[in-house]
Every structure is written in C-alpha cells, then in structure tokens.
Amino acid sequence: MGQSRIIEMKHVSTIYEGEKVPSLFDITLSIAQGEFVCIVGPNGAGKTTLLETLNGLIPHTDGQVHILGKNIKEKGVFLRKQIGYLPQEFTVDPLSPFLVKDIILMGRYGKIGLFKNISKNDYWLLERSLKIIGIEELKDKPIGKLSGGQLQKVMLARVLTKRPSILFLDEPFSNLDYRSTHTIAHQLSCAHDENHWTTLMVIHDLASLPKHCNRVIYLEEGRVVKDDTPEKVLTEDLLETSLPSR
C-alpha cells in the first residue's frame, strides 16, 4: 500500500495497575490512511484496551505508539482532537443535567479550542449529524431520558460532529436493533469513504461487519493472532472455535 501510515504500534504492551499479566502484549502493527479495520476477538482479548492505548487514554507500559507521526504520550491532547472515539458501554444518570444537543456539540469542544466560541459551522455540523444518524427529534431531550440504543446513536452523532481524521469505534452497534445497525453501518461506511477517514472498529457481532472493512485484526489474550483481509481471518474454523457467540 502506497498510503501514509496513520497509526503505528511498535512492541506495545499495556499492563493495568495491580495486574501482572499484560492486557496487550508486544503488539506491532501499522494502519494506513483510509483503511477500515475491524478488531475482533473473544471477551477479555484486549480489544477495548487496544483502542484506549492507541488514543492515549490508557498509558502503555512498553513500546511506542505513533498517531499521524506523533508520539501519543507526548502529543496526546493534540492527537485526540483528531480522533473520534466512541466508547463501548456508556451509562448516564437519569437526572443528568445535559441535553442531547449539548452532548453532541461537546464532541467538537476540543477541536474548537480554548477561548473560542461555538460557531455557526459547529451548529451546522450538529444538525447534519442528527440528520445522518436519524435522531433529529431527540435534539432537545435530556440525555438521561434516552434508551440504550438512542444513547448509542447520540454518541455516534457526537463522533460524526467532531469531523475527525481517525475514528475509533468500540462496538458501535451493541445496543442497536437490526434495522438501525444496518442503516448506521451503511452511513458510517459512506462517511468513511467521503471523508477519507482511517477507521478502527471493535466488533462483536460479525454479522454486522461493514462491507467497507478491508482488514480484520484478530486478538486473543492481548496478542495479535491474525491480521489480514476479512476472508482470510474469518475462516470457518476460527469462527467455530474462537468466536462461537456470533
């Protein structure tokens, strides 16, 4: 591939405090601009830890992580302005004092920067994301009043509003019904192409593997076991022995 490397990990290990066994062990991989990579593996394989190590929310203990050519440990705050991150499970207190539109706009706050006000363009991006995800009617609702699926859509809209160059999505369809999953997977694939994003998506339900996915990384016990095209990684043998829950 002639494209530039956007994400590079060299011999990266991550150990949580108080743990002896690393959650990620000696991972080396690189991801080029425009790739749509899905990360699969059984529970506890280190999929979420991989995403959070990459965006610097969890500090790695060994090795080096470079995003857009910059070290995540040194330039974490700057780099996270370029990364759209959707966390796996996200719960909100029912009395939480925030409206849906505020939560979505917050995705852009880092990018807007210090001492600068929210602009008309930011509000336009908010409206556009609400439309893409199909949640315009939720705009003025309190965030704590939403169902799990609606909340997940709001968090996806937040990621889109940010207009990042890199996307980290951790099980983006886990709370969505069949129809929403397919609509949003399609929207994400289109947005990935239009915006030339580099996308990393942790996915559990392989039936919702987006068709734009051109690479699958299979993790097990914190190690990369397979890293290739979806056809080569997701073999019948692997699906039956290692991912029986599909």
């Binding site: 004092p97 917050m106 807007i112 309190p142 704590g144």
Partner: protein, 273 residues
C-alpha cells in the same frame, strides 16, 4: 427594637453585601462540586480552613491567610498528589476530613485568652458583625474572578462535568481544569469562612447547587440558578439569625436544608407523567 436601631446602616449594607457574595460564590463553586460527586470536599475544605484559622489565632498570625494555606493544601493533596498516588478522591477526603477536624480542635486548645477564644468560636459558627469592608472587597473580587473563569472556560467545564474521560477523549486537557475547580473551592471556602463559619460553610456550597439540580436539565440554567438560590438562602439565614439570635452558619444551614427539601418535593424532574 428593630435591627436598624441596633446596627448602623453601613454595617447592615456591608453584612448584606458580604452575605450575598458569599452565597453566590459558594453555590457557584458548589455546582461543580455536586456534579463531580465531591460533596465531601466541602466538609474537608471547611474543616481545613477552620484548622488554619485556629492555628493562625494560636500563633497570633492572620487567620485568613492560614485558612487559605490549609484549604489550598487540601486542594493540592486531592488534585496532583491523588493523581500521582492513584487513590480514589473519596478515600483521601475521608482521611483528610478527620485529620483537619482533629487539627482544628487541637489548635483551638492553644488559643491563649478568652477574647481570642470568642474569635475562634466565630470561625467555627460564623459571625455577621465580624465582616469588614475588606472582606466584602475580597469576596467581590473572588466572585467576579470565578464568573470570569467560568465564562472563559465554559466549554471545557461543560464537557468535564458531563464525563471527564469523554472530555479527555475529545481533546481537552482535563487535569488543569479539575485542579482549577479544587483550588477555587479552597479559596472560596477560606474567604467565606469568617461569615458562615468553618463547621457549616459546606451547607452553602452543597445545598443551593443541589436545589438547582432538582429543577433543570440544562447545565447553563443550573449555573445561573445555583447562585440565586445561594443568595436567597443566605439572606434567609441572616433574617433567621437576627430574629432568633442563631449563629449565622446554623441559620444558613437550616434555611438551605429546608429549601432543598422543598425543591425535592417540587422538582419537575421527579414528577411522573
């Protein structure tokens, strides 16, 4: 005999101004403290400020500056040091709470004469008449500074109040803002302790903000109404204190607690249907 016959008009104006400013700034800071579930910070800071003031009186040093030093020390222990040691803030607060209380009571024993002891008691319970022009100027500057800081960094505070980890993920350096809240709390407590008293100042931090949270889903409205509740409860406390000769700290704690009870009952957020 009315209050206007007992006290000079200037004293009444200074007292009311100081009360409104303390009510506004404490409850504005309380908006963040309540949302971050750090209500014990209010207890801890107030006891630290009380211990500092008591030490000041025991050593014949200015109580305000030692109260400020102790409060900021708590902010420092809870902020940067807790981050380094990776301990839960609630654990540190629990330990600091008992330590600062113990130090405060110990320092009280070292205060030399009875006149000083009455000053010490006013630090514990608050004193309406002890407030000076300078105290009001300090409170005014502090209130203005806190409002200015909130306006300047509203986006950052807004995102952190929703979720600190998500704010960090969106590219906001959350640590400086978190520490800023802790330090502002320390300064606010130290500057307001003379009026409300060290034992009950946390009521003015926690109660008005908790009331505002009962009514609104929009954080901006909570930031606006929390200081209004703070002013209302402080003035209510002053009236109660004058009428029944209660200590000012106790009066504010009573009015704001009643206010909170009413807010829970009237809360539209808790209504069904």
């Amino acid at each position: 005999m009315s209050i206007f016959e007992i006290l000079p008009l200037k004293t009444i104006i200074i007292t009311l101004l100081g009360t409104c400013l303390a009510g506004a700034v404490c409850s504005l800071i309380g908006t963040f403290i309540v949302r971050m579930k750090l209500t014990s910070l209010g207890f801890c800071m107030s006891h630290a400020a009380f211990a500092g003031s008591a030490l000041g009186l025991a050593l014949s040093l200015p109580p305000l500056w030692l109260a400020l030093a102790f409060s900021i020390l708590v902010a420092f222990i809870l902020g940067p040091l807790a981050d380094k040691s990776r301990l839960q803030p609630e654990i540190i607060l629990g330990i600091l709470f008992s330590l600062t209380m113990a130090l405060g009571l110990t320092f009280l024993n070292f205060i030399p004469d009875s006149a000083m002891s009455s000053t010490a008691m006013s630090i514990l319970w608050g004193s309406i008449l002890g407030i000076t022009d300078l105290d009001v100027i300090r409170l005014a500057v502090l209130t203005f500074s806190v409002i200015l800081i909130i306006i300047l960094f509203f986006k950052e505070f807004h995102a952190i109040m929703f979720d600190r980890k998500m704010a960090e993920a969106s590219g906001i350096a959350t640590k400086p803002f978190y520490y800023l809240i802790l330090f502002l709390t320390g300064i606010t407590v130290a500057f307001s302790i003379k009026l409300v008293g060290g034992l009950l100042i946390f009521a003015l931090i926690v109660n008005p903000a908790s009331c505002a949270y009962q009514y609104f889903y929009d954080f901006r409205k909570i930031l606006l109404f929390s200081p209004l509740f703070g002013i209302l409860f402080s003035l209510g406390g002053i009236i109660l204190s004058f009428l029944l000769d209660f200590p000012i700290g106790s009066s504010i704690a009573i009015t704001s607690s009643v206010g909170f009870g009413l807010s829970v009952i009237l809360s539209p957020k808790r209504r069904k249907g």
